[in-house]
Symmetry: C4
Subunit: 217 residues, 4 copies
């Protein structure tokens, strides 16, 4: 149970990155993390404010999204997270936000073009748009998985809705959510006064390869 | 008097959500809450800075907006709040702000179209515009009540002025004010570079129904 | 000397409102206050960061802008402040900023139209543009005084430069600077997607009269 | 070694100005400073979050960008910093960011026109654009040096990438990075609603001369 306790703390704490980076309003975003070696993940409870989150309030669900441990109802986005964990075994963390600029691209169903070297580094090309899907069944999860499978981008803009990001763990998914909003904002602002210069596809490839293999410690 | 003290504290504290969410500048917004079971409500005093607000400084008014208890003059928007409490018995909280993006829509007298699932959840459709009305009599209150009666939206954009929101209690009205600015900003930014994709009316209905009945704890 | 000490503290502390309201970057804005009953005013020293400001670091100048007391050189905008105090005896405080949205209007030499009731309240009409003027002599001060004399607005947008505001004391001038940026931003954002609805001149007059006479405690 | 320790602390602390001024996201920007009298400089380690930076974590490199002292790998931008120190002996500090508005101009490969007196003060004219260059060799460094040599501006917008700034020391380079984003934002916003008024070249010269020689203490 100590591994659970630690993962609950990590996922709890990562929500502070959502607020610090202004990705969420009121209770609108959530982070989850897969429990290593088990068909389980931990996720934010539904409708709880970020100030009130504690490691103990983080709930544990199985890969069908059913509550396994915890006092509170899981996030209303739990089915979408569960679908991703069930169908993308390499994914260890999922984040969902309605961050402003990324959601604005999503409202127009317009992918974000790759016109920044930082975007080539992190996303390896454009950030794609997933389908319009209603909450309540597997539609959102299916849309995420269909869009991101075989795609370099760890972020998808779900039409009229917001962003889902994936990563090898919860922290990587949070980083993708933070960088997604950052490039969504910068490219939006660039586009307001004209057309950004495209980056040649082979340069995007080179940047992506180097960043994925050589960056950091 | 303990119920009064508690409501004064709640309403006092909720003003911190207005500043935290950047909905207000200097002393320009206010929160009120109906006193359960009495023809009274509590409201921010006029022109007092948010740093200086204390539960004791929150004043008590009757439903004609007359000061009943408190050392300070009530908010200059008190007549509008009072009119709402007098004419909408289901309302337990009212919030007024000049939050930037919502007020920008109000300056153009343009309703915010429902192009985000979060907006369908919370507002059940577009956020409507109320009439231009001068302060000093019941004009603002009448405009709020006429616009919101029978409307799903708990928020109205008063032309050239700002936002009024209602809720079952003061906290719900604050949440509506926070979400109103959030969607006003996202839809504005989406519109800057093209037309957002509309959401079909029947999907708005489904989202609204689910959110009002199943979200949270 | 206690009155000096108190005014120095007040003016020192008011700079925190400039940073809190995001009106200044690095060391670019300043607040001054007239010493009651004397031909003197206190002002920020030049190029000192806001974190390092102390009441003791605030300098005292005469109405020609000459340093009378203090260890540091006065703000490079001191001549403009001095000119205002010399020529507008009713003014007790002056603030200068390069706040983003107001300066953007100033860069286009475009007055901010009065399309918000809060703007009618505080500014009584449009916020006017003053001339392009170089630093180094009385040009800026003359431009401020020529533009604001006989005008309701306590704020002037100096072309290609930034904002100067005046008030009965330093706090009132700070409030005008805060509200100027607030309405500059909201009207800018309103204009991005169309034309705001004008407010009839007689309604602007009514709003201005009421606010100047009845608002606050 | 005390001079090293002090420079490491200074450079470590200056990263807090990047976060405070919202110039960086996650781990995307870095500050370096030349070691006086030695062919060495200190720089941020790669991929370390700003919260975790300590003076001890700051690494020391030679002018070929090779690690000389420190536990961690140097910033992935180290080659660019090193090239600048090797080729511009007057430079004592270098800063790199992807700050939003400046990077938006860079994405369009469009220099920022000098339409603000604060911009004339600090940059002496427009902020120029450097070439598109891939990371991994001296391309970025060569682009920075080619663009800034003989130019008044201490900032260059590297196409599709971000900003590099230089200064006599690390603090001056940080100030240039802060002011670059500030003017990039204000000029962007001014341009959204029309054309800013140009400042005559001779007035830009006068403003630049005065500011470089007379401002501050």
């Amino acid at each position: 149970m100590t591994a659970f306790a630690e993962l609950r703390r990590t996922v709890c704490d990562l929500h502070a990155e959502l607020t610090r980076n202004h990705l969420v309003t009121w209770t609108s975003g959530n982070v989850s993390g897969r429990v290593p070696g088990e068909d389980l993940f931990v996720i934010k409870p539904s409708g709880v404010s970020y100030d009130d989150l504690t490691p103990e309030s983080i709930v544990v669900c199985d890969l069908d999204g059913k509550l396994v441990d915890g006092e509170l109802s899981p996030s209303s986005d739990t089915d979408a997270h569960a679908y991703v964990y069930r169908n993308m075994p390499e994914v260890g963390g999922v984040v969902h936000t309605h961050s402003t600029y990324a959601t604005a691209w999503a409202a127009r169903a317009e992918p974000i073009p790759c016109v920044l070297t930082a975007m080539a580094d992190e996303f390896g090309g454009e950030i794609p748009v997933g389908p319009f899907a209603l909450i309540g069944d597997d539609s959102i999860g299916r849309g995420i998985v269909a869009t991101l499978s075989g795609h370099r981008s760890p972020a998808v803009l779900m039409q009229n809705h917001g962003v889902f990001t994936i990563g090898k763990d919860a922290r990587a998914a949070v980083k993708a959510a933070v960088m997604c909003e950052d490039v969504a904002r910068t490219v939006h602002i660039a586009r307001q006064l004209g057309e950004p210069v495209p980056i040649p596809a082979e340069d995007i490839d080179r940047l992506y390869d180097r960043y994925q293999n050589a960056y950091g410690q």
